[in-house]
């Protein structure tokens, strides 16, 4: 028995040690980033220092006033795209899930099977046709092609559908009907509130996914004032960065990353529970 306890203590030690190393790896790079974003170019030239310096505000002002990389405008664009994506994606996915779960109709099985087959289909394979379509529709270099297609998000639909299946009693819908509630009202006022937890989780994931998306914006956006954050980061990488103020570069990356980290710290419990739900597929 004592030997068994000892082995557990040893294993526990190894587990904690590994976890600490991995956590260090996860945080280390962001720590350097944040420290470096507070340094001036001259301070960075001297080599790495472990403690933050006092140049953060100057760097931030430089980033905000830079016309070549309109970072703040980029953040505004990214927020517009990501929030609208999150809103319409979750609303219409919930609506689709509701339609397929509550009603009986001829094509129900076909429609469901179809969505399940395209569940993990990469968007890149249709990029050529998508690009041409966007040009023909006159949406090239606008934010619309980044937002509208998110109405059809199979993975979000599947999450909503599973959630409805375990949380919505059909008798509730029936009762509402008897009380004279219209079908649209049933969805908007009864089912939608029930789905709030699922919608919140998926809204976060859709927001982040859209915020981080690079492939599609890189294809359909051209002018600088339409650029989203990932596009600006890519432009930065393509520029002759060695002549730049490195403090400013670190600040630009910070500005792109840190808002999401801050939001994550507030919502982390929620987000991790959402990830775990995706894992309960047995």
């Amino acid at each position: 028995m004592i030997r068994k306890n000892n082995s557990n203590i040893a294993r526990s030690f190894v587990a904690h040690f590994t976890l600490i190393i991995l956590s260090f790896m996860c945080l280390f790079f962001f720590y350097i980033l944040i420290v470096n974003s507070t340094c001036s170019h001259a301070e960075l030239q001297k080599g790495f220092s472990a403690l933050p310096k006092s140049n953060a505000l100057v760097n931030f002002r430089n980033v905000a006033n830079d016309g070549t990389f309109p970072m703040l405008k980029g953040i505004v664009n990214s927020i517009i795209v990501s929030s609208l994506c999150a809103a319409i994606c979750t609303y219409f996915s919930a609506l689709t899930a509701f339609g397929l779960y509550v009603y009986d109709f001829k094509l129900k099985k076909v429609a469901f099977t179809f969505i399940m087959v395209i569940l993990v289909m990469p968007t890149q394979v249709t990029a050529l046709g998508f690009l041409r379509l966007i040009r023909n529709m006159g949406f090239y270099d606008t934010l619309i092609p980044l937002i509208l297609p998110s109405i059809a998000s199979p993975a979000v639909f599947y999450f909503m559908y599973s959630y409805l299946k375990s949380n919505l009693q059909l008798s509730l819908v029936e009762a509402a009907r008897i009380d004279g509630c219209g079908e649209i009202k049933i969805f908007n006022q009864i089912v939608f509130p029930i789905m709030k937890p699922a919608i919140a989780v998926q809204a976060i994931f859709t927001f982040v996914g859209s915020w981080n998306n690079y492939f599609v914006p890189a294809l359909v956006l051209e002018s600088k004032d339409k650029a989203t954050v990932p596009i600006l980061i890519a432009t930065l990488r393509g520029a002759d960065y060695m002549n730049f103020d490195m403090g400013k570069i670190y600040m630009m990356i910070t500005v792109a990353i840190v808002p999401i980290i801050i939001a994550y710290l507030f919502l982390s419990k929620f987000i991790i529970a959402g990830v775990a739900l995706g894992g309960v597929k047995e």
Binding site: R11, C26, F48, L119, M121, A127, L236, R237, A276
Partner: protein, 309 residues
Amino acid sequence: MKKTKSISRAKWGYICILPFFVTYFIFSFLPLVDTIRYSFYEYYRSGIRTIGPNFVGFDNYISVMGPDFFTYLKNTFILWIIGFVPQIVIALLLASWFVDARLKIRGEQFFKVVIYLPNLIMASAFAMLFFTLFSTSGPVNSILANLGLVDGPIDFMGTPTGTRLLVALMNFLMWFGNTTIMLMAAIMGISQDVFEAASIDGCTPRQTFFHITLPLIRPILTYTLITSLIGGLQMFDVPQILTNGQGNPNRTSYTLIMWLNNLLRAPDYGRAGALSVYLFVVSGILCIMVYRMVNRDDEKKIRRRFNRN
């Protein structure tokens, strides 16, 4: 009476799913048809002259399937596998540790929050960060020099192995937390009785892991493998930004989607189309595998529910 009612409700079913299918039709299905159509045409720009569209049959398919294709396919696969193997191994270890009550892991919530964090980071910004950190005059080299570990700066991105390892490290950091949490949920889904029985029968932790946990979570492991493979096939942001779209050194970190991106920009629609169709076929096969697995699970659940009743 009842029948008319159900017909009138069927209408609502169609109305609810209409936006999804209309959007999918316009923004995914039509583009797919258009992509396939252009894969049979010669249509590219050479200087300021546009050539085509002329119908050329399967020429694009033959020309795309050259040595470049296999090189980029190999690169994509290598970049994926050297990130995926440590990811799944570490995730399995962490997940089994987290659920093992005997280990008394402290700060479980803290560790989960930290290891999931990189998953939310913008891949392009993360790659740009790694590019600056690991450049010859960057902080990592400066730290290594201060510690006296290296004589001169290491050119991490100057060798194929270095670049590939950096890409793999980023992919690993971005995904191992996500996989850990998913596997943990799967392990916690296993009935506690099984573990208790094993423990009474004198199973060591190692035996429990290999003979009970692993076989029972195999479906989700396969699911993780295939979805990760699909993700790997789409690998773009990280190598694109890290190498500025060049796949340097000597195109050893150039992926299939980076190539597609380049063909779309050239533009060389014919060859981009053919490449897309190849990718479509491969992802289609993977999609059907995912579909089968998700569906089989549903059937199993239904069967279990029947048994319970």
